[in-house]
């Protein structure tokens, strides 16, 4: 029989629960308690205001280059809210909102962005990986964590984040394949912000959606409106439940938009128009969620104002605290720490050499 149809038609669904104006689809509204809803809102505001503050600090030369997240708060928070503290988070480099939700300190982020190794310090009980800059390289680690959790008969799941550009790298495809073959509990969360620096999604893939790539690997794939925190949460919750109960991995494509520059070193005017950005700014995930919460009667002007000033205070305190802490940091010898469990003799010698050299520098400066 020539041309027999052996793979049934593939269908990919796109989920949205809040419309562009923030009106909810009652049939799809997930059951989230009010406390959690308000916590999500709080972190959205915190992540947005913190991002703005970081851009300002960078422009003032008080921190180095960093990748802003504005506009991607819903994609990150909706997803990460679906996992437990005992589950694992494997971020790329643009998940500040998710990291804040998981408890990473604002001061810690400022310190890391200031080029201090100390910004990487994490609590012993942490189940979060540090940021990973080489695109897609962290995705296989999530598969390994999940495999190990299975092996140890734990019901932990692993959530890994990456961008649309990452789906072009071999590491992404290899990890997807492994996860499906081994049926490990991984939730692949792709923040499709439609740009990889200057490269638009259309130059990254000819696929209609990123979600459909999951089909080729034999796992469920879903597209969600990434600026709709309820949709992201609903999709993530379903994926987490499946993973936890032994149903294997899921791929979630969150369609969102990088409304700011790639990093503070980037100039988007070279490759995209402001109009497209403005259209996406109107789909601001924060405003849509706010509208929903107001309509639900759990948020009002007074509460918002109170929260805003509380968050301003929190950020200011974090900046002050970070800047005070940084005054006590910067001992050059720290760079030799954490290379190995035990420092090899050659490294000990090199460390002594640098100590001697820096001391000599000091004497020469005094001499002048």
């Amino acid at each position: 029989m020539p041309h027999e149809k052996i793979v049934p038609d593939v269908s990919i669904t796109s989920l949205a629960i809040l419309d562009a104006e923030g009106k909810v689809d009652k049939d799809l509204e997930p059951d989230i308690d009010i406390q959690t809803l308000l916590k999500l809102y709080r972190f959205m505001v915190l992540a947005r205001r913190f991002d703005e503050r970081l851009v300002a600090l960078q422009r003032q030369g008080r921190i180095g280059t960093f990748p802003p997240i504005t506009g991607q708060e819903a994609a990150q928070l909706g997803a990460v809210a679906a996992i437990r503290p005992t589950d694992w988070l494997v971020p790329s480099f643009r998940e500040t909102a998710a990291e804040l939700w998981r408890g990473r300190g604002l001061d810690n982020i400022i310190i890391a962005n200031n080029g201090l190794n100390e910004g990487g310090i994490m609590p012993d009980h942490s189940r979060d990986f540090p940021v990973s800059i080489p695109v897609a390289s962290q995705i296989p680690h999530a598969v390994g964590l999940a495999w190990a959790a299975r092996y140890r008969q734990s019901d932990e799941v692993v959530m890994v984040f990456f961008g649309d550009g990452a789906t072009s790298e071999g590491d992404f495809h290899e990890a997807m394949n492994f996860a499906a073959v081994f049926q490990v509990p991984v939730i692949f969360v792709c923040q499709n912000n439609q740009w990889a620096i200057s490269i638009p999604l259309s130059r990254q893939t000819r696929s209609e959606t990123l979600a459909q790539k999951a089909v080729a690997y034999g796992m469920p794939g879903i597209q969600v409106d990434g600026n709709d925190i309820l949709a992201v949460y609903a999709a993530a919750e379903e994926a987490v439940a499946r993973a936890r109960s032994g149903g294997g991995p899921t791929f979630i494509e969150c369609v969102t938009y990088r409304v700011l520059m790639h990093t503070t070193a980037d100039d988007p005017k070279r490759y995209r128009s402001d109009e497209a950005v403005d259209a996406w700014r109107r789909k601001d995930p924060l405003i849509r969620f706010e509208t929903y919460l107001r309509a639900k009667g759990v948020l009002d002007e007074a509460k918002i104002a109170g929260l805003q000033s509380e968050i301003e205070g929190e950020i200011k305190a974090a900046v002050d605290h970070a800047e005070a802490r940084m005054k006590t940091m910067g001992d050059p010898m720290e760079m030799f720490d954490h290379q190995y469990a035990a420092m090899p003799p050659t490294l000990r010698r090199q460390k002594a050499i640098l100590e001697r050299e820096l001391a000599a520098d000091g004497r020469e400066v005094e001499h002048e």
Partner: protein
Amino acid sequence: MNKLTMVQALNLALRQEMEADDSVIVLGEDVGMDGGVFRVTDDLIHRFGASRVVDTPLAESAIVGMAIGMAAYGLRPVCEIQFSGFAYHNFHQLENHAARLRWRSRGRYPVPMVLRAPYGAGVRALEHHSESREVYWAHTPGLKTVIPSGPRNARALLVSAIRDPDPVVFYEGKALYRAFREAVPEAVETLPIGQPQIAREGSDVTLIAYGAMVRPTLAAAEALDVQEGVKAEVIDLLTLSPLDDRLLVESVRKTGRAVVVHEAPQSFGPGAEIVARLMEGAFFYLEAPIERVTGFDIVVPLFSREKSYLPSVPRIVRAVRRTLDQG
């Protein structure tokens, strides 16, 4: 003559080679509309079109693998890897294929490609954006590793690299990109690949460096001359591999003393090979142990500590004094 930064000089080399030869193709991440994150490929897409300046999807292995195929067909691809810290994604394409296709096909398929990548520390960059791992490529037989030290030689060497019949890894010190300007002639210049140059003549001690370390090495030579009348000869390798040691050996036979400077980690670094060559070629002329001023065997620290990590002018000066104090 126009005074150009290294970014502009490299751009000039690409533009002129593309004008002269339609087999020269530029490909990589963000090389088109964005003109490369450091703007080395600025405006090329407007001059030569998207079929010759190719914005690729985000995949270094495919960029280099594709370049190998293009080169085997007879084109001259110049691929940009955005930062050398991401060239490990394409490691196996260079090691297993670019470096061997000529050998494996008994000369039928040469691979005349160039892989350009910024390397090195000193610009307050993020993790993975400051490494100096050129020795990986220098260690691979079949590859050439070229590292210019300023606008003028960068332009000339890039032209030579594009015309070279073999694969060339071309590392650009990102700390040099906009650090200073040099007069660069409009008329095309080349420089032979595989030949070091004397950057400053001297008779008391030989300083050997390449890439971004040439400037501090020259500054150290100047300081030694001004402060204590020491005449240091500075050799700029320009090509790390294949390393032609004849000039180095000749110089050290004359001076009897040598200091090697590089920002790559010390162990198994370029300095180790250079010192071995000098032991082979100039052992009986040495007056003092050879010194190495290098990076350390550690991950390059995040940027607030990178100044302490990098070899500095005073560190080089003190190393020279140590060799002079001997014998």
